[in-house]
């Protein structure tokens, strides 16, 4: 449409490349986390996640020789393989941590008391000695090897069901679900009735109320924390799920009313007037006509509210408290960042557990989300 014929192709290429760059920039951080969550702690700390797809050369942790000895031509022998995987290739090895790359593969090295050891490329080792190994401490081998790309689900097993590493993420997942679902469902009906009144009923003070809703839309919820906590304590709710649900309901209402009213105002006037003429009461018009027609707006709000309550940290910290068994996923993650800041396998996996549900909702319901955003801010 734009541009002149001669410039068009170079410009189109420039556009393609810029968009690709932008998308890469926006996608890379998340991909990094996702890839890391499938790697072992060792892999994560040995190399960047971007090299996870290629074979890697690196020094493995020291391996202590073990195995059953047997006699072979007057010598006592232990043989076996250093590596678990057949595709690992040894490039250098050593027997002391000071010189971990001292020997080539297949070199035979003499140790104390006439012991000899050799390690092949494949990791096959052969340890020999003139006398039995019974009661002796076997040597350690330091290997530098190329390992094939390897991914594991172990992190997810540990984080979700394990008892030590990243403990409580599974519980936190349930807690978050428990917070998010009622906090999403309850405001909808309350808001829908109010939105209908503000859209289709005539009464004094209507304009003022709409203005008030618009004003409350931007009031920072930070202001509400202490007064509401005091209130909850005074009426006996204290810190707990009920308090969180009520708080999320209150904080979600302005947006809900605003979105739904904007949508309902746009419904065809004829339908509603006709129903009135036919003798339908407002209650009937609302439940039989307006509510079903408003489904897209209800869906938009439900997605917003679900994402918001799922992702929230502040409200959950304040109204649910910081007891260990009540932490939501976000709070658990903040704790993990403090206590296990260096353990990326736990951190990355926990983080991914916390963002996977919103991502599914996002990709499944993107249409409604976009529609809601547009209704909420473009006029």
């Amino acid at each position: 449409m734009e541009g002149m014929a001669g410039q068009k192709s170079t410009l189109t290429w420039a556009v393609h490349i810029s968009v690709a760059l932008l998308v890469a920039l926006w996608l890379f951080p998340t991909v990094g986390l996702l890839v890391s969550s499938f790697r072992t702690a060792e892999q994560i700390s040995n190399s960047g996640w971007w090299s996870a797809f290629s074979a890697q050369k690196g020094q493995l942790p020291a391996i202590r020789i073990s195995g059953e000895e047997h006699e072979d031509g007057g010598l006592y022998v232990i043989d076996g393989n250093l590596f678990g995987s057949a595709e690992t290739t040894l490039s250098a090895w050593g027997t002391s941590s000071r010189e971990p790359e001292a020997y080539e593969p297949d070199t035979e090295v003499e140790l104390k008391d006439g012991w000899t050891i050799s390690v092949a490329k494949s990791g096959d080792f052969r340890l020999t000695a003139p006398q039995s190994f019974e009661g002796e401490r076997l040597p350690r081998v330091f290997a530098t090897a190329t390992t094939p790309p390897e991914f594991t689900l172990q992190n997810y097993k540990n984080v979700l069901f394990g008892t030590t590493a990243g403990a409580g993420v599974g519980q936190a997942f349930l807690n978050t679900l428990t917070v998010a679902i009622p906090a999403t469902v309850i405001p909808i009906l309350v808001a829908a009735f109010a939105a209908y009144a503000l859209a289709w009923m005539e009464f004094p003070g209507r304009a003022l109320l709409i203005a008030a809703v618009v004003a409350l839309l931007v009031v920072p919820l930070q202001l509400a924390l202490i007064p509401l906590l005091q209130l909850h304590n005074a009426i006996g709710i204290g810190k707990g799920y009920l308090g969180v649900w009520l708080a999320h309901t209150g904080f979600g209402l302005p947006l809900a009313i605003y979105l739904l009213r904007n949508y309902m105002v746009g419904l065809p006037k004829d339908i509603i007037e006709n129903a009135r003429v036919d003798g339908a009461s407002d209650f009937q018009i609302f439940t039989k006509i307006v509510l079903p027609l408003s489904f897209p707006a209800l869906a938009s709000f439900a997605i917003f509210q679900f994402l918001w309550t799922w992702n929230d940290l502040l409200v959950a910290l304040v109204f649910l408290g910081t007891d260990d068994d009540r932490l939501v996923l976000t709070a658990r993650l903040v704790n993990l960042m403090g206590s296990r800041g260096g353990q990326w396998e736990i951190l990355a996996t926990s983080a991914f557990v916390s963002i996977v549900v919103p991502l599914i909702v996002f990709f499944a319901m993107q249409k409604y989300l976009v529609r809601g955003l547009l209704a909420g801010s473009v006029k």
Binding site: L22, G32, I181, F203, L209, L216, P220, L242, G250
Partner: protein, 332 residues
């Protein structure tokens, strides 16, 4: 009781209660108080119609009043009292104490930076993405991917970016992509998050990353709403693509840009999770919302904490007033 069971029960009671309230209150109005029959039928119908809107509105007004309007007043009152003196009125003492704290001024300074950089960068990137993706075949996929961070929590995003900024001592393989890139360029690995004042920008990057998709979606819709004729006329007059974009398109969507800008500004003012999770305000990265949280829930100094909350409210209020004025203008 098990929380999950409690949740199900709450949904049932909450929804059932709402439906019950609306149905019974309407029945009461129509069947008992002002039945539309008998000698006063006209008066009864009129009265019922006067009361009904308030039946519809009551639960919402009650919840809004209790959970948003009342706390503003209560917080203002708290900011004038001292908890240690049993809630005695102390005038502006909390504000004075706050103004004397270096951390507060650090937070204000950083917040101002956030307020300029984040909305500007998000809107800019969003506009760029919206304009570029509009013209290519895989534009929708690209949009989805740029929009995706919107679904990720601030804390989740903080973890994601902390990995990007990760630091390993010199000689070790870098696992953070920023340091890997930096080392590849020939630099020495840096502990990025401790380098003032640049660490502030690294934290801002997280929010920009989240908000750009939002800006892109809204601005994209506005760009598509521009009348074709204006663009065609410009092409006929020989304008180049950049002129068309900056001189024809951007001026026409100015009001949308303002809306996007203010919406992101509101998010910025409340940003707390990112700072808490990544630096917790260390290395001079404090912001107001985290300062307030510190005061309220770590120092338990409700007076100063509330004063900080009022400062946030004060910063929000111009947008509040502007939004209300706009909403009223639209309704006329």
């Amino acid at each position: 009781m098990h929380p999950a069971l409690q949740a199900v029960l709450t949904i049932v009671i909450g929804l059932g209660g709402c439906i019950g309230y609306f149905w019974f209150s309407n029945q009461l109005l129509d069947k008992v108080l002002f039945p539309p029959r008998g000698p006063n039928i006209g008066r009864n119908i009129r009265r019922a119609e006067m009361i009904r809107p308030w039946l519809f509105l009551f639960p919402a007004i009650f919840a809004l009043g209790l959970y948003l309007a009342y706390p503003v007043v209560a917080t203002f009152w708290l900011s004038l009292t001292d908890r240690n003196q049993g809630g005695a009125f102390v005038g502006l003492a909390n504000y004075q104490q706050m103004l004397r704290e270096a951390k507060f001024w650090e937070a204000i300074r950083n917040n101002m930076l956030w307020l300029i950089v984040v909305p500007a960068a998000s809107t800019g990137f969003g506009l760029l993405a919206a304009q570029l993706t509009d013209r290519i075949r895989w534009g929708n996929l690209a949009k989805s991917l740029i929009f995706m961070p919107m679904a990720i929590s601030f804390v989740g995003a903080s973890v994601i970016w902390k990995l990007v900024y990760d630091f390993r001592p010199i000689g070790q393989e870098q696992i953070g992509i920023l340091n890997a890139f930096w080392v590849w360029l020939g630099g020495a690995p840096q502990t990025w998050l401790t380098i003032t004042p640049w660490n502030n920008f690294l934290l801002m990057m997280v929010l920009i990353w989240i908000q750009t998709g939002f800006a892109m979606v809204i601005l994209g819709a506005a760009l598509r709403g521009i009348p074709e004729e204006t663009v065609e006329a410009a092409i006929v007059d020989g304008a180049n693509p950049f002129q068309i974009f900056f001189k024809i398109k951007v001026p026409q969507i100015r009001s949308t840009i303002v809306v996007v800008w203010t919406t992101i500004t509101l998010v910025v003012l409340k940003v707390f999770d990112i700072v808490l999770a990544m630096t917790n305000g260390q290395w001079q990265t404090q912001v107001l919302a985290n300062y307030m949280y510190d005061k309220l829930f770590r120092a338990f100094d409700w007076g100063v904490g509330s004063a900080a909350a009022m400062v946030i409210m004060l910063l929000v209020s111009p947008i509040l007033v502007w939004n209300v004025i706009n909403a009223r203008r639209e309704m006329r």
